[in-house]
Subunit: 331 residues, 2 copies
């Protein structure tokens, strides 16, 4: 945890707490202020107090709505009217589609052909045009950039963008406002938008909080980058049920924040993710998708110290189709 002591002033980072507060103002009355769930069963099991920020109950079912809406809202109106483009493995797609619809502008979403059918359908359901690509052979960033250039539309990146990070940071802002200081905050980590936003919020509102990113074991690019002090990429798309965390390298901006504001990382297996989804189903009575369950999985699997501590956990999304869910658990 040495890097966590290497703290920088906020003005050297891509976002600060004022950006998050500005995002919160844009999101007021638009995003849900999601509930913080608690479970005495969970607390007894881990010997601490766990506060679960239920972003699976956010509009379109994931925290991603916050960043996408904030980014679209922050565009100059003339620019915004020409529409937006996004590439995403799922929730960011729906988030941008919904944010565009709420602004009455067109959205084009570049999605992998093997994205969960429920996510493809939901994105189209929000009125977006969907362009598909093969995520094992094609470069989604290049496809998105080309479409944006052709149409004069603005690309809304899934995580590596100050307004997206600041929007995601409102998750941490709301959590600290509601429950006060925490000893640790576990954040589901893909590209690092939620991680970096929550880390900046924690630094301002609860500076003693150890912010910990949680990745699937197969996709530990952020952990490896953080430990080596520079961004390192994976050789191949990680094979994990956590389809929202199949990023291959941290974002440049999100990594810059994580280097200064994150205390460490934890990894969880697909089996541990499934156990967390089952716990959420039976004991919390909420639906959490695999990527959204990784932080809870880290708590349940004992990957972080919980005894006598106050632990925040993001449940970052709940978009798993019923058929997919049944397949995962039919055994």
């Amino acid at each position: 945890m040495t890097a966590a002591t290497d703290r920088s002033p906020d003005d050297t980072l891509p976002i600060d707490i004022d950006d998050i507060r500005a995002a919160a103002a844009r999101l007021a009355g638009v995003a849900h202020r999601t509930p913080v769930l608690t479970s005495r069963t969970l607390d007894e099991r881990v010997g601490g107090s766990v506060f679960l920020k239920a972003e699976n109950l956010q509009r379109m079912g994931a925290f991603k709505f916050r960043g996408a809406y904030n980014a679209v809202a922050a565009l100059d109106p003339d620019v915004r009217s020409r529409g937006v483009v996004a590439f995403s493995s799922g929730n960011h797609a729906q988030a941008v589609a919904l944010a565009a619809r709420l602004h009455a502008i067109p959205a084009t979403i570049v999605m992998p052909t093997d994205a969960p059918p429920a996510k493809l359908a939901a994105t189209r359901g929000y009125g977006a045009e969907v362009v598909t690509y093969d995520r094992y052979t094609e470069d989604r960033a290049a496809i998105g950039a080309r479409i944006a250039a052709e149409r004069g539309a603005s690309l809304i990146p899934p995580f590596d963008h100050p307004a997206v990070m600041a929007g995601a940071g409102t998750v941490g802002l709301e959590l600290f406002e509601e429950v006060g200081p925490l000893d640790a905050l576990l954040v589901c980590t893909g590209g690092g938008g939620l991680l970096s936003g929550c880390a900046v919020a924690a630094h301002a509102l609860s500076p003693g909080t150890a912010v910990i990113g949680v990745e699937p074991e197969a996709g530990d690019d952020f952990k490896r980058s953080w430990e080596s002090g520079q961004r390192v990429g994976l050789d191949a798309v990680p094979r994990t049920i956590a389809d929202g965390q199949q990023t291959m390298m941290p974002g440049e901006l999100t990594f810059a924040v994580a280097r200064q504001r994150v205390a460490g990382f934890a990894l969880v297996s697909d089996a541990e993710i499934l156990a967390a989804m089952a716990f959420a189903f039976e004991r919390l009575r909420v639906v959490v998708e695999p990527s959204g369950a990784t932080a809870l999985a880290a708590v349940l699997a004992g990957k972080v110290e919980t005894a006598g501590r106050r632990i925040g956990v993001t449940l970052s999304g709940g978009n798993v189709g019923l058929g997919q869910f049944v397949e995962l658990f039919r055994g």
Copy 2:
């Protein structure tokens, strides 16, 4: 809906709004003030505004905690210390077990042998002693009364008791406090505790609300009783997936309230209940058990008028085991 116009003053009914307010005071800081969920998808589909009171996110996973806790809390301390007894097909069992544990008194629960394993395990998990019986051949009321007499313990009935009804009525109280007047309120109905409590709350806080009980088609004892003006019983335990609504006759007290304060009833099939559970899973990202989904099922299946109206819906419970859920949907 003629009976709904046959209104009595509250002082002729077993409970009034002051009983519900007293219950709310006892439950403050003990029960969760559950969130009210909304879904634009749902609103667009039914052409109205639907407000879902998520009692599946209540402690122990169902509204039943409210009534059980209120009834235990209302006992004279000397009497209470000798413990409580309950008979229940599930959620009331867990509710009484938890209420007893919170009061540090013993609980004995009489449960059917074929109750969902998750509910049997959860009841024992709350520290209660469980006595099982065959619900198709034995009389649970007689067994409960015998145990109560032997042990000097107080029987906490599942619904037909003023404190249980008043506790359940806090569901309606909270809903009206949060969303204001409604055109209709659909209430999952078994023995009528939630229905009667919510109907009394509506009469006081939103007198224009048509309170509608929703039963599974196979267990329409309350609808038939209400239509005939007197309590009528079913010939056999209704066969439905809605295991919390397998009551065979309305309660005496709950029926007295329903005659005066309820505007009508709707019935839903098991297939409609499953569709509502699937909708809750995929679009609301919450887990609802079959009995807890009947009111939502009535809305989705068009059993009530929704166009242009503000509709309250109880999601009354979320205790369905993961294995049971997968079986219901594996198709």
